[in-house]
């Protein structure tokens, strides 16, 4: 049928109004949220109602909804909003893997992307996938049932993925007579449990998805409730990006080299802010340089923030390629080839002993093996048990060894540098999601050349030089120890007089202490005065040079 759209007013006044309205609409913010609930808690009804009430439905879709509601609806002929989002039943029957369905709606203030995770068999895998990009989680509870095992499971996963905000949507309030007492009891139950988990901010809202109470507007049936409606809350709650911060971090995606005169480093800013002229380090080399320009289409921009996809140029020619991470000197990262991480297994084929997988962390890809499963977590009881197997939907605390140094960070600190996937080398399937808790170097016995980790800082300002270097190495996430004469005098050399006669013995003891520390994976900066012959193994550095900060490449 040919469609006639509504008449548009064409007066100048209307036009000015239109321009203002469009300008406002261009400036919406974006909130990505995840809905979790067990089957029949009313998740589809709730999402369908949000779509309907925010007028995201067109007449043809509405007509189809009315017809389907009459035919197969569960609401006695009234509009069954669940049908709007229930496009997945058929696929499930056909065995098609659906992990997440994404729905979109918008109000004048915000655009929303809803990650809807259907099915219960694959719940962990699906939820983790949906949660990985969410700013907020809506956890549904059926008011007639209260907090149940599934609620705990959902909350555990939401917490694991670091979603900072949770809405506890207590649904079907109409079935409990809109009782304040019932709501408060459920809220209290939940908060007790959320506190145990150490969850972020929880906002509890009583609602009826079916009847629309407190969904898009405040309900008359619950005048005892003085909080916002669900939509009001979603429209005003801060997004994840506003609530997280950190030093500038840019995993390099691709180097743009159209010709000899231009070399741009591209990527999406994972944290912090950067401006032209700012000093940066390139990890893992630790090379220091300066941002010359932030290039944008047809020009330059003064600064860039978390979330933007940008192109940087440097003031000098440095070695920097895909997989490197550009950071501010004050950004805290960890570098190493051994990861302690939580793995969520997503493949039908269980984790195999000694099999090697590809690990993708930000833009770094390396080969890895899972060398240890320390504990397996039961998502229903949250108990951690010893275990040696990780199967589909299993969650374990593991240790992974990687074939080279990776630049990362604990997931809770920086999700981009802390969240990774594992890829099966044969099937190329994504088999696991990983969340880093710590990065270290593999066992000290593996450090074959401890001299690599020892520096003799010499010169009148040795202490100051060591401090400058300590800060730089610290920024790279390296454990550093400054071995001074004062430290030695506390015990190791307390029996030696401080005179030239005993100087060489003092150096010998300093060297032995440094070697022990270096073997344990620590970078040792020795400030004890030593001659060139004595200062072995390790490198001799002039404190003056270090203070000038001209060279960041040392030992990195």
């Amino acid at each position: 049928m040919a469609t006639v759209l509504r008449e548009v007013p064409r007066a100048d006044e209307a036009r000015a109004e239109l321009d203002a309205y469009l300008a406002l609409n261009q400036k919406k913010s974006l909130l990505r949220f995840l809905t979790c609930g067990s089957v029949d808690d009313g998740k589809s009804t709730l999402i369908g109602r949000l779509l309907y009430d925010s007028k995201m439905l067109f007449e043809d879709q509405l007509a189809a909804l009315e017809a389907e509601s009459k035919k197969i609806g569960t609401t006695g002929g009234g509009l069954d909003f669940a049908l709007l989002v229930d496009g997945l039943g058929a696929e499930r029957e056909q065995g098609i893997t659906i992990d997440v369905a994404y729905r979109f709606f918008a109000t004048d203030k915000r655009k929303f992307i809803v990650a809807d995770t259907p099915g219960h068999e694959q719940y962990t895998r699906n939820m983790v996938t949906g949660a990985s990009t969410a700013d907020l989680a809506v956890i549904l509870i059926d008011a007639t049932k209260g907090v149940i095992t599934q609620t705990r499971r959902h909350s555990f996963l939401v917490n694991l993925l670091g979603i900072p905000r949770v809405v506890l949507a207590v649904n079907k309030m109409d079935l409990v007579g809109f009782s304040q007492e019932r709501f408060e009891q459920i809220e209290a139950d939940y908060r007790r449990f959320a506190d145990e988990l150490g969850m972020g901010v929880v906002t509890a809202i009583p609602l009826s998805a079916l009847q629309g109470d407190n969904v898009t507007s405040r309900s008359d049936a619950m005048d005892w409730y003085d909080g916002p409606s669900l939509l009001d809350h979603l429209e005003t709650v801060p997004g994840r990006e506003q609530s997280r911060d950190g030093g500038f971090t840019l995993p390099v995606q691709w180097v743009n080299r159209p010709n000899r005169d231009f070399r741009g480093y591209t990527g999406t800013v994972a944290a912090g802010r950067i401006a032209a002229g700012d000093p940066v380090l390139i990890l893992p080399s630790g090379r220091r340089t300066e941002v010359q320009r932030i290039v944008k289409f047809g020009g330059y921009q003064d600064e860039a923030f978390r979330g933007q996809s940008i192109t940087l140029t440097f003031t000098d020619e440095v070695d920097c390629s895909r997989g490197n991470v550009i950071v501010s000197p004050d950004t805290v990262t960890q570098i190493g080839n051994r990861l302690s991480a939580t793995l969520v297994w997503m493949s039908d084929e269980p984790l195999a002993d000694h099999r090697s997988y590809w690990l993708k962390l930000a833009t770094q890809t390396a080969s890895t093996t899972v060398s240890r499963i320390d504990a397996v977590i039961d998502v229903n009881t949250l108990a951690e048990d010893e275990g040696s197997r990780l199967e589909l939907n299993g969650i374990g605390r593991c240790v992974l060894d990687v074939d080279r140094d990776l630049v990362g960070a604990p997931y809770a600190q920086n999700p981009t540098l802390g969240g990774f996937i594992l890829i099966d080398k044969l099937s190329n399937a994504t088999v696991a999601a990983g969340l880093i808790s710590e990065i270290h170097r593999s066992d000290p016995k593996d450090i074959s050349d401890p001299g690599q980790h020892i520096a003799w800082i010499q010169g009148p300002a040795a202490g100051q030089g060591a401090e400058a270097l300590r800060q730089r190495l610290g920024a790279l996430g390296r454990p550093v120890f400054v071995l001074t004469e004062d430290v030695l005098d506390q015990g190791l050399t307390s029996d030696l007089a401080n005179d030239p006669e005993h100087a060489s013995e003092r150096v010998r003891r300093a060297r032995e202490a440094a070697l022990l520390l270096a073997r344990a994976g620590v970078e040792v900066l020795v400030t004890v005065p030593a001659s060139a012959e004595e200062a072995v193994p390790g490198r001799v550095l002039d404190a003056g040079d270090l203070i000038q900060e001209s060279d960041g490449e040392w030992m990195i």
Partner: protein, 305 residues
């Protein structure tokens, strides 16, 4: 805005833009020979603009591929050639030689027209040039069944979509690994809605085919659709005479298969305003979606986008 905020948060369009650019750069970094499917419509226009931003100051490091049916609107061919020139990208136009030889057309051959020109044509073109990744402009909001689509969608060596073997997509980490012969379809606009597309075109002043804006055009009404008589290949039925109406299109494809809406919205701002008060969804204008529900799913399995 709250006091702790150190820097402004991005608007929804800025975030969508950043995500799409990120996806494109990942594909270029991780695949051998990518290509951008360019259909000349508004989604293609946005996708191309984003690609130019992603790789600036270089032109995007892949060609544009137009799988042509010879039945597109004249205005589409004009814009296509202009845009290819301006972007500095190579434009590959592919027409299925068999469809050409047999004179396959939308008036006489129904759904065979789409199968041969588009579905088969696309597979042939990808094979001929050996592309292992193809950007497409599809969006998840277009249809209920697309809501669950991955951004990276894997195809077997015979271009079949294996729905049981798609990969979970976590954070912004995309797994682009594949076996020799396999290829990926990548949808960088997955999270955009029709309204986002229009707002972005408006904000960035992206050139689009003028048919998206209302103007008086010769039309006939057939099977409940308003069709534009774009050239003299349009066979008029007895009693049919083209009538001039002020129309525009919400989606563009082969002109005999694309329904217009009557409208006075002759500027982008007016189109967006109409969009905000619109009462029908954009897919209503597409003949392809009318032949039975679930047909989208089937077409995709066969290799049509």
């Amino acid at each position: 805005m709250n006091a702790q905020t150190k820097f402004p948060s991005l608007t929804h369009l800025e975030q969508l833009e950043a995500e799409s650019i990120h996806i494109m750069r990942e594909v270029v970094a991780e695949t051998e020979k990518p290509v951008m499917l360019y259909s000349v419509g508004k989604d293609s226009a946005v996708m191309l603009h984003l690609a130019r931003k992603a790789f600036y100051p270089a032109p995007p490091p892949f060609p544009l591929l137009h799988v042509d049916t010879t039945w597109k609107f004249k205005a589409m061919y004009e814009l296509r050639d202009r845009v290819a020139r301006e972007s500095g990208m190579e434009l590959i136009v592919y027409q299925n030689p068999e469809a050409k030889e047999r004179g396959i057309n939308p008036f006489d051959h129904g759904s065979l027209h789409t199968d041969m020109w588009k579905t088969e044509g696309l597979k042939q073109a990808l094979d001929k040039y050996g592309f292992d990744a193809a950007f497409g402009g599809a969006r998840r909001d277009e249809e209920k069944s697309r809501a669950k689509e991955r951004i990276f969608s894997f195809r077997s060596a015979s271009h079949r979509w294996d729905p049981k073997n798609q990969r979970p997509e976590l954070w912004n980490l995309y797994n682009a690994r594949k076996a020799p012969g396999e290829s990926i379809r990548v949808f960088p606009l997955s999270n955009w809605t029709e309204l986002d597309i229009w707002q972005y075109i408006y904000a960035e002043e992206i050139p689009i085919v003028p048919l998206y804006l209302a103007a008086p055009r010769p039309t006939v009404e057939r099977n409940g659709m308003l069709l534009m008589v774009d050239d003299d290949r349009f066979p008029l039925l007895p009693g049919e005479t083209p009538v001039e109406r002020s129309i525009r299109f919400r989606t563009l494809g082969c002109y005999p298969l694309t329904g217009a809406v009557e409208s006075e919205a002759s500027t982008l701002a007016e189109v967006i305003q109409e969009m905000l008060v619109a009462t029908t969804s954009e897919r209503q204008g597409r003949a392809i979606d009318h032949d039975g529900s679930g047909s989208m799913e089937r077409k995709k399995q066969e290799g049509y986008f």
